[in-house]
C-alpha cells in the first residue's frame, strides 16, 4: 500500500481538515482556552485508548473499561467519605482496577473464553459493584490540591496535567508497541496467534498482562475523572468504552488484530475529541453526539474493508 493511502495517514489528514473547518466556521473553537478544555475533556478516553490499542492489536478487547472507571470513581467516593487520605485511596483504587483486569485476563487466558463475551459480562458486573459501593449518592469536596491537578494546566503552558501525562505515556506506549520485542509479539499474536506461540512467544502471559494493564489504566482514569469533575458517582464514565473503541478503530487498528499504529490511534482520539467539542459548541444534544460516535465507529470499520474490495477491482485481479 502506498504511503499516502495508509489509513492512519488519512485519519491524520482528516484531523487537520476538521480542525481547519472548525477554526474557520465555528466561533470560539480555535481559542487556546477552548482547545485546552477540549483536550482536558478527552483525558480519560485518551489514557484508556493507549491500553486498548495494545489489546486490540493482540486481537483482544476490553469492554469493561468504563465500568472499571465507574467502580474506581465510586470507591474513591466511598473511601474518601470513610475518612481515608487521598494518598492512600489512589493506590488502593488503582490496585482494585488491576484486579478487575486480572479477572478479565484469567477468564480469557485460562478458560479460553472470547474477550468480547467476558468483558461484556464484567461490564455489567463492575458497574453493578460500583452501585453496591456508592449507591445513587455523589461524593464531592475533594482536596483542592488534587482537583487542581486534574483540571489545572502545566505552569506556563495551556496543557492540562492529564494531557501532559497522556503525552508521556503515549511516548512510552509508542516505543513499546513499535520498537520493542514485546510490541512485535503483540502484532504476531494478533495476526496469527498459533504461529506466535510456535515461535516461543508466551501468548497467554502477555495477554494476561494486557488485561491487567487495561484495568489499571481504567481505574486510574476513574481517579482523574472523579477529581476533574470533583464528584464521585457510580455512573461516572457511562459509555466511555464506545468512545475509546471508536477512537482505536478510527485510528486504523484492525479489530481482528495484527494491524495498526499508535500514531493513527492518537489521531483518532483527537479527531473524536474535536468532533465532540465542535458538536458541543454548536449546541448539539448529547444524543446526537452519541449518534455521531456510533457512525464513526461503523465508518472506521467499514471503510478499510471497502477499500480492500474496491482497490483490487480498480487494478484488475492480482
Amino acid at each position: 500500500m502506498t504511503r499516502v493511502l495508509r489509513w492512519d495517514v488519512l485519519v491524520g489528514a482528516l484531523l487537520v481538515a476538521v480542525f481547519a473547518t472548525g477554526s474557520l466556521t465555528v466561533p470560539g473553537f480555535a481559542t487556546t482556552g477552548n482547545l485546552s478544555f477540549a483536550l482536558g475533556d478527552l483525558g480519560e478516553i485518551a489514557l484508556i485508548a493507549l491500553a486498548m490499542t495494545l489489546l486490540v492489536v493482540a486481537a483482544e478487547v476490553d469492554l469493561s473499561v468504563a465500568s472499571v472507571l465507574g467502580l474506581s470513581s465510586a470507591l474513591v467516593g466511598a473511601l474518601w467519605d470513610g475518612g481515608l487520605a487521598i494518598e492512600t485511596i489512589i493506590p488502593l483504587v488503582v490496585l482494585v482496577g488491576a484486579v478487575c483486569g486480572l479477572v478479565n485476563g484469567l477468564l480469557v487466558t485460562r478458560l479460553g473464553l472470547p474477550s468480547l463475551a467476558v468483558t461484556i459480562g464484567t461490564l455489567a458486573l463492575y458497574r453493578g459493584l460500583a452501585y453496591v459501593v456508592l449507591g445513587d449518592q455523589a461524593v464531592a469536596q475533594f482536596p483542592p490540591a488534587y482537583t487542581a491537578l486534574a483540571v489545572g494546566d502545566v505552569p506556563g503552558t495551556p496543557v492540562p496535567y492529564p494531557v501532559a501525562l497522556f503525552v508521556l505515556l503515549a511516548a512510552v506506549t509508542g516505543v513499546v508497541l513499535h520498537a520493542t520485542g514485546f510490541g512485535r509479539a503483540l502484532y504476531a499474536i494478533g495476526a496469527q496467534e498459533q504461529a506466535a506461540f510456535f515461535a516461543g512467544i508466551r501468548v497467554k502471559r502477555i495477554k494476561l498482562l494486557l488485561f491487567v494493564l487495561s484495568g489499571t489504566v481504567a481505574a486510574f482514569a476513574g481517579v482523574v475523572f472523579t477529581l476533574r469533575y470533583g464528584s464521585a458517582r457510580a455512573d461516572n464514565g457511562l459509555g466511555v468504552e464506545l468512545a475509546v473503541i471508536a477512537a482505536v478503530l478510527l485510528g486504523g487498528v484492525d479489530f481482528d488484530g495484527g494491524k495498526g499504529t499508535l500514531g493513527g490511534v492518537i489521531a483518532g482520539v483527537l479527531l473524536i475529541g474535536l468532533l465532540r467539542n465542535l458538536l458541543m459548541l454548536g449546541d448539539v444534544s448529547t444524543e446526537i453526539q452519541s449518534i455521531v460516535t456510533g457512525l464513526l465507529l461503523i465508518v472506521s470499520v467499514l471503510t478499510p474493508r471497502l477499500v480492500s474490495v474496491v482497490r483490487p477491482a480498480l487494478k484488475g485481479t492480482p
Binding site: 520485542g181 512485535r184 504476531a188 495476526a191 496469527q192 504461529a195 510456535f198 515461535a199 495484527g258 485481479t317
Partner: protein
C-alpha cells in the same frame, strides 16, 4: 475415445501486470485419460487450473470444449460445462451430513419443497458405489479425514455430471494407504469416461497413475507426451531445465553425543511410551501413517502440547512440559507441519518473520535493532538462497518453497542443537526440495541433531540414518539405514503381512 479432447487449452497466454503467468500453453484432456500437470512452484500450474475452472479468462488463446471454442464467464459457468476442481484441502460444511454436502443447493425434493432425505442418501450411496468407496452418507463431515473429505468432493463432482476432474495436489496430505484408495477412485472415474487432470509434486504418483503428462516451466509448456517411455530424470529435467543430481544427498556425518533423549513419553489418548534418542550429526526419520501420532510427539517435545508422563532431555537438561520458550532456550527448534498457520505470520514481512524467534537476541537496550533484524534476515536469506524482491515484503507473496525457506531461516537463526522438522518438503517443488535436503544434510554435518517427520517414503529412505516407525500412537520399529526399505517401513507402519 472420441476424436476431440473433452477439454483443451489452445495457445493460452495470461498475464498479471508485468508477470506472464502462462505463455502460449496448450493442453488436451481426453475422456478416460489421467493427465498429469508437472512443474515447479511458480511454473504456472495454478493459473492453468484456474483458467480451466473459469476463474481466470485467457488474454490470448482459446478454451475448447469437445472441440468447440467456449468462453467461461466464471467458475459457475465452467461447472455447468462439466469441469470440477478438487482442491488439496476440501471446504465442506462440517455440521452437515455427507449426503447434504454432496447435494448442497440441489437437494431432491418432495411435496411442499421438503427435502427428500431418503432419496438423497440413496443417491449418495449409489455414487459411492460407482467409486468403490465405503462411507456413511448420513454422518456429519466433521471428523472425516482429509482423504475422506476429498472423496466427498469427488462424489459431489460426479453428482453434477462432471466430465473433467481437476485434482490440485490431492495427495499432499494423504498417507500411503489413502493415496492408494484415491488412485483406485481415479481409475473408476476414468472407466466412467471422465478426463482427469492430476497435479502432484510426487513424481512417482505421476508415473503410477497417469497416461500423459504436460510439463510447465516459467509459464511455458515444455512438453506434452505419454508417460510411458519417460524416466524420472527426464521429467525432472523438463521441470527444472537442468540435472538435479541426487535428490537425497545425506552425507555420512560423525555421530556425536546424544542431543535429544525422549523417554517413555505419553500423552493420554494420543501417544504412549515413546522412547528414542537422536545424536548430534544424525538424521532420524519418524515415519508412519498420517494420524499415527508423529506430529503430536513433535509438538509435545517442543512444548506446544503438554505430556502426561515421561521425560524429554536436551543436551542433558530435562525440559518442563508445555513450554516452547523453555524448549527454545534449551536449543530445540521446530519447523512445524502447517506453514501458513504455525510456521509464519502471513501478514508480516520476511525479515520480521525471521526475527520473530530472536526478539531477545535482537535487542539493543530496550528496543529491537532494525538493523540487526535486517542483517539476520539478509544473512539467512542468502545462506538458504531465498528468492525474494525485498526483505520488507510480506511473506505471503513468496512461493510455497520459499515460504518454507523462511520458516527454516527463522529457526536456524536460533542456532539450535536439535532441529525437529515436520513434513519439511510438503507441497514444495523438486528444485527447492533438493535444496532443503542438501541443507538438512549440511546441518547434520555441522553436528546438529535432526528429527524429521515425513510421509514421503523416498525422502525418509534417502535422508535418514535411522527410521523410527509409529503406528497408533506407539513406536513399532527402529530400522537402521541399511535395512530400511519401502517394504520394511510400510510393514511396521501398517502391520500388514510383508
Amino acid at each position: 475415445m472420441s476424436a476431440h479432447p473433452t477439454l483443451a487449452l489452445a495457445g493460452v497466454s495470461k498475464s498479471f501486470g508485468a508477470v506472464r503467468a502462462l505463455r502460449d500453453v496448450s493442453i488436451e484432456l481426453y475422456a478416460g485419460e489421467a493427465h498429469a500437470l508437472a512443474g515447479e512452484n511458480g511454473a504456472g500450474k495454478s493459473t492453468l487450473v484456474k483458467t480451466l475452472a473459469g476463474v481466470h479468462r485467457p488474454d490470448q488463446g482459446m478454451i475448447l470444449l469437445d472441440g468447440e471454442p467456449v468462453v467461461f464467464t466464471g467458475p459457475a459457468d465452467a461447472q455447468r460445462a462439466g469441469v470440477a476442481v478438487i482442491y488439496q484441502e476440501p471446504t465442506l460444511f462440517p455440521d452437515l451430513s455427507v449426503a447434504e454436502n454432496i447435494f448442497m443447493g440441489r437437494q431432491p425434493r418432495r411435496s411442499l419443497g421438503r427435502i427428500d432425505r431418503a432419496a438423497m442418501r440413496a443417491a449418495t450411496r449409489e455414487l459411492f458405489g460407482r467409486l468403490g468407496v465405503d462411507l456413511d452418507p448420513g454422518r456429519p463431515t466433521r471428523g472425516l479425514s482429509i482423504a475422506d473429505q476429498q472423496l466427498v468432493e469427488i462424489a459431489k463432482a460426479l453428482s453434477r455430471d462432471a466430465r473433467v476432474l481437476v485434482m490440485d495436489e490431492p495427495t499432499a496430505a494423504l498417507s500411503g494407504a489413502e493415496t492408494a484408495r484415491l488412485f483406485s477412485v481415479v481409475e473408476a472415474l476414468r472407466e466412467h469416461g471422465c478426463a482427469v487432470l492430476f497435479i502432484s509434486h510426487r513424481l512417482d504418483e505421476i508415473f503410477a497413475l497417469c497416461q500423459r503428462v504436460t510439463t510447465l516451466r516459467d509459464g511455458q509448456g515444455i512438453a506434452s507426451e505419454p508417460v510411458a517411455g519417460l524416466t524420472h530424470d527426464d521429467l525432472v529435467r523438463r521441470m527444472v531445465g537442468r540435472d538435479l543430481g541426487a535428490l537425497y544427498p545425506k552425507q555420512d556425518a560423525a555421530l556425536g553425543d546424544v542431543a535429544l533423549r525422549v523417554e517413555r513419553l505419553t500423552r493420554e489418548g494420543v501417544f504412549t511410551d515413546v522412547s528414542f534418542e537422536v545424536r548430534r550429526g544424525e538424521i532420524v526419520a519418524l515415519a508412519g501413517l498420517v494420524g499415527a501420532g508423529r506430529s503430536e510427539v513433535a509438538r509435545a517435545i517442543f512444548g506446544i502440547d503438554r505430556w502426561d508422563a515421561g521425560t524429554v532431555t536436551v543436551a542433558g537438561r530435562d525440559l518442563p512440559p508445555g513450554s516452547p520458550t523453555a524448549a527454545m532456550g534449551a536449543g530445540l527448534a521446530l519447523v512445524p507441519e502447517d506453514r501458513r498457520q504455525q510456521g509464519l505470520v502471513m501478514e508480516m514481512s520476511i525479515e520480521r518473520n525471521i526475527g520473530l524467534t530472536g526478539l531477545r537476541s535482537l535487542r539493543r537496550g530496550v528496543t529491537i535493532s532494525r538493523r540487526a533484524e535486517r542483517d539476520r534476515a539478509a544473512d539467512w536469506a542468502a545462506r538458504l538462497r531465498l528468492k525474494f524482491a525485498r526483505l520488507g515484503d510480506g511473506v505471503g507473496v513468496l512461493s510455497g518453497g520459499n515460504q518454507q525457506k523462511v520458516v527454516l531461516a527463522k529457526w536456524l537463526a536460533t542456532e539450535p542443537s536439535v532441529l525437529v522438522v515436520d513434513e519439511p518438503t510438503r507441497g514444495i517443488d523438486v528444485g527447492t526440495k533438493a535444496e532443503v535436503h542438501r541443507l538438512l544434510s549440511e546441518l547434520a554435518g555441522q553436528g546438529i541433531a535432526v528429527l524429521m517427520i515425513s510421509s514421503d517414503l523416498p525422502e525418509v529412505l534417502g535422508m535418514a540414518d535411522r527410521v523410527l516407525v509409529m503406528r497408533e500412537g506407539r513406536l513399532t520399529a527402529e530400522i537402521p539405514r541399511a535395512e530400511a526399505t519401502e517394504e520394511s517401513v510400510m510393514h511396521a507402519a501398517t502391520r500388514r503381512a510383508a
